[in-house]
Amino acid sequence: MRAFSGKMAGSISARRLIPVVAILPATLGFLFFMAYRHNLISSETGMAVIILTLILIFLFLLRYHAESLNQWANKRLLAEHEVRVLNEQLEQKVKERTSDLEQSEANLQAIFNNTAVGFLLLNTHYEILSFNERFKSAFLRVYEKQINIHQNYLDLFPQERRMFMIDQFIQAASYNQLVEYEISIPEGQPELYFRVNIIPVKSQNELVGYSVSVTEITQRRILKLQIEKMNQDLIQRNKELEQFTFIVSHNLRSPIANISGISNILVDPNIDESNLRKMGSEMAKSIRRLDGVVQDLNMILDVKKGLDDASEPVSLTALVNGIKESISTVIEETGTVIYLDFNACNEMITIRSYLHSIFYNLITNSIKYRKLDNPCEISISSRIQEKQLIIEFSDNGIGMDLETMGDQLFGLYKRFHRNIEGKGVGLYIVKLQVESLGGMISVASTLNKGTTFTITFKMN
């Protein structure tokens, strides 16, 4: 019975055919039976009609079957076509998706390989899983070693470095956080600086490896160092200014205190004649001293003004000869001899007035602190060393003990020899001027042997 009651195409057509194949012959049979009984038709006619009817039914069935077969065939063709179309669409989509994926992977790869950051992926055994171009080239540049997939990353480093790195990895893993440190290469005098980040990579709460990223920070570091240096220079300059203010106020205060003390004595009506005279001359002395300090101050402030002068080529020989001429009397009286050796470098592009003042002060300084029982000899020479112009002033004077107060030699109003006229301004100004020209001055001295001042200028 299933064949009739189902929903499939066969059952449906069976149900449709039931009236034709069962009810129609039954109705016809019944009608002929009745007609035969009333003798309306002969039995031969009935047989003929029935056979005809059966042929008709057969033909009808044949037609029906053919039609439905044709219909099914059509449907199948249609369905097949649909399936083909769908299939094609699917294939198209797959193609598109694949190309999208390829594009996006290519994009990612492009980013991965064209970034300022070097990336490295390691598993938990520090085996290299992946890295980008930047990492590879940076590693090659810094360690002069190629890195390859499946290599053990730690094996690329010396033992002592490995310990440090393992510590970093362990820290990243155990605290599950980014670990950051900086490296400078080479260690002694670094030229390259990098910042390294280690990030533990986890999958379902399980450590599977490490992502290492490396950024070069050389430029930033150099800038930072420059700023730090500038800052230190400023602090130093500030200290010097504070010191300067302190010294100047002290040296202004000193004669003023004397004048104040003298006037205390002078206002006493019982002052005796000799004290009155003495105090008068002391008053004049103190006022002269006060004036001297103000003049020194003026001169020191002038040093700063001179910086606006233009730089020009200055011949060292001509400079010294000019100074020799201007102090020829002193040179003759003291029997001073000045030896020059400017073969290595006789010309310097600088502010003439500064260099003149530096040479003048150092030459007169040597004459001032000469040995009285010996002719004064001064040697001035120039040489070039490591892109620096070095000018040396040596004398055979009385020298000094730098052990105790070497750091104060260039200080304002610092004096080392009380028996020789001097205010402690000359060397202070020399140092100020040398530094204003971007140079450095240092001194070496042996008591009773002589003194050597060395000035170093950077050459452009």
Partner: protein
């Protein structure tokens, strides 16, 4: 207290001190030195001869400074040190010097120049 030693490289100041002390303590014996080393020697000599000395000491001097003199004094034996009373007399207006002298070196007084009769009186009374 009739022995006074003044150590200062500034001669004018030494002269002022001498006149002021003479006016305040007419029978005073006054020694002035522009060379700190000589002053130190005199100081020791006076203390060794068992007389009390009042010292007026400048801080800012070339070669040997007032601080050096104080350090040398601290190396004196206790009986000599008891004889000497150190007073700083300086043109310094730096408070740090004052703190250092009084807190660190336990000097008697810290005076700013010039020396006046009132200062001398405040020491002897």
């Amino acid at each position: 207290m009739k022995n006074y030693v003044i150590i200062d490289d500034d001669e004018t100041n030494n002269l002022i001190c001498k006149i002021i002390i003479q006016q305040t303590v007419p029978d005073a014996t006054i020694f002035t030195f522009t060379e700190p080393a000589n002053g130190l020697q005199q100081l020791k000599k006076l203390a060794e001869s068992s007389v009390d000395v009042i010292l007026f000491l400048d801080l800012n001097m070339p070669e040997i400074t007032g601080w050096d003199i104080i350090k040398a004094y601290l190396d004196f034996p206790e009986n000599l040190r008891r004889r000497i009373q150190i007073n700083i007399l300086t043109s310094s207006i730096n408070n740090k010097d004052k703190e250092k002298a009084i807190d660190e070196y336990r000097v008697n007084r810290f005076f700013s120049k010039p020396l006046t009769k009132e200062m001398v009186e405040s020491i002897i009374h």
